[in-house]
Structure formats: C-alpha cells, structure tokens
C-alpha cells in the first residue's frame, strides 16, 4: 500500500506534463493531478497507520516514513512548478492592446512560403474573406 501510494504520487506528478497538459480542462487547473495526489496521500496514510498500529502484522514504519516524506516533496515540487514557476513571465506591457492596430509582419509558413499579416487579413478562408485573424503565439520547442 505504501509503495502503491508512492508510485501514485510519482504518476500524479509526471502525468500532468506527459498527458493532462494536452487538454484545456485538465491543463488550466490541474484538478486531475491533485486528485491523484489526494489518492496517493490516502494510501500512504492508510499504509502508515497500519504499520504503526499493527507493527507485528505490517512492516513499513521506516520505509513508509521515507516514502511519505518523498511524496510530500513531489507534491511540493508540483505545486511550485504549476502555481508559482508558471507565473514567472514577462509583463508584456507594450504588447498590442484592444483598439490598437496590430503591427504588420512577414514570416514564413511551414512550406517556407512568405506570408504577411496583411495577406492573412484579406486572403479568403473557405472561399470567403476572413472576419478576422486569431494570432496565437506559443512557446514552441515541440
């Protein structure tokens, strides 16, 4: 039970970055991962209780304490990464604001074709002039 609890807290940490980050509803607030951490905490607490109350039947006083301590550290690292680390971002005070004209630009697309913002605003989408353009800046390195 103690080892399963510990494994679950590892899974709770890793699965955010490897899996849950892909979906807006599990990414923007990591409730699925916090739920896994809660399950892990429950298993560790039950395992520890058993080990301390019935030491002749269940082992794990020592190992359990270490695993529980490590799990708390993993949870701490997770909370820090998501709720504090993720907020370390530039202020972007000079980014275009509502009502401003978006600065024009020319970049290359995935076919190495040159594309300007002006052309994106006017070239038809599905046979009709676009109502607008949603510019999505992302971090990259995928």
């Amino acid at each position: 039970m103690l080892w399963v609890g510990f494994a679950l807290s590892l899974l709770a940490f890793v699965s955010y970055f490897s899996f849950f980050v892909q979906f807006p509803w599990t990414r923007n607030f990591p409730w699925a991962n916090l739920l896994l951490f809660a399950l892990a905490a429950g298993l560790l607490a039950m395992g520890m209780r058993r080990a301390f109350r019935l030491p002749e039947q269940y082992r794990g006083k020592f190992v359990g304490s270490i695993l529980a301590g490590l799990s708390v550290l993993i949870l701490g690292l997770f909370v820090f990464s998501i709720f504090i680390g993720g907020r370390r971002m530039p202020a972007s005070a000079a980014a275009p604001h509502v009502g401003a004209k978006a600065p024009d630009f020319t970049l290359t697309d995935t076919d190495n074709k040159t594309v300007s913002l002006a052309s994106l605003l006017t070239e038809p989408v599905h046979g009709a002039a676009p109502k607008g353009v949603m510019l999505v800046f992302y971090r990259g390195y995928w």
Partner: protein, 93 residues
C-alpha cells in the same frame, strides 16, 4: 475566422508537428523572434537551451487588423480555451 500560430520553431519542426497532429491552420516561423519582440512577447531564456521564446499570448484582430481581444495569460500553464476564443470571435463582424 483565420487561426494563425506563431513560434520560434523552424518551419521543418513545425511541419513535422502539424502533420503528426493533423493541424490544418497556418503556422508561421519566427526563428529570430523578431515579430515576437515587436509584439513585446519575448520570454527571455525560457527555451530548453536558454533561447528567447514567445510567452503564450492570443490576439483577435478584425478584418482591418485592429486588436479586438487579447489574452495575456499570467501562467504559461493556463491558456485561452477554445470556448473563450470562439466567444471572442463571435463578437467580431
């Protein structure tokens, strides 16, 4: 509505990625982060080898190129949801 994604990734990286994911909207490469800098969206040394990358940000422009909606997230784990974007887009004629 046209969706355009911009990052510092080179065209080849993005091409592999969009093929794998089946994305059909426009992806643009800004390897020197020039446009990202012009939009004041540089997140300095935030790439895996301390490269400058874009902080996540979304801008909705109307057909005249005027900004109608902006989302500058406070945390890079939190992004605009498709619903938020569609709602913003529905207000633009």
């Amino acid at each position: 509505m046209r969706v355009v994604a911009i990052s510092v990734d080179p065209a080849e990286t993005t091409r592999n990625f969009t093929h794998k994911k089946g994305y059909s909207f426009t992806f643009l490469s800004d390897p020197k982060a020039e446009v990202i800098r012009r939009y004041d969206l540089i997140h300095a040394k935030a790439g895996p080898d301390e490269q400058d990358v874009a902080r996540p940000a979304e801008f909705l422009l109307d057909s005249t190129g005027t900004v109608r909606w902006v989302n500058l997230t406070e945390s890079y784990w939190v992004r605009a949801t498709p619903e938020q974007m569609l709602q913003a887009a529905s207000a633009v004629r």
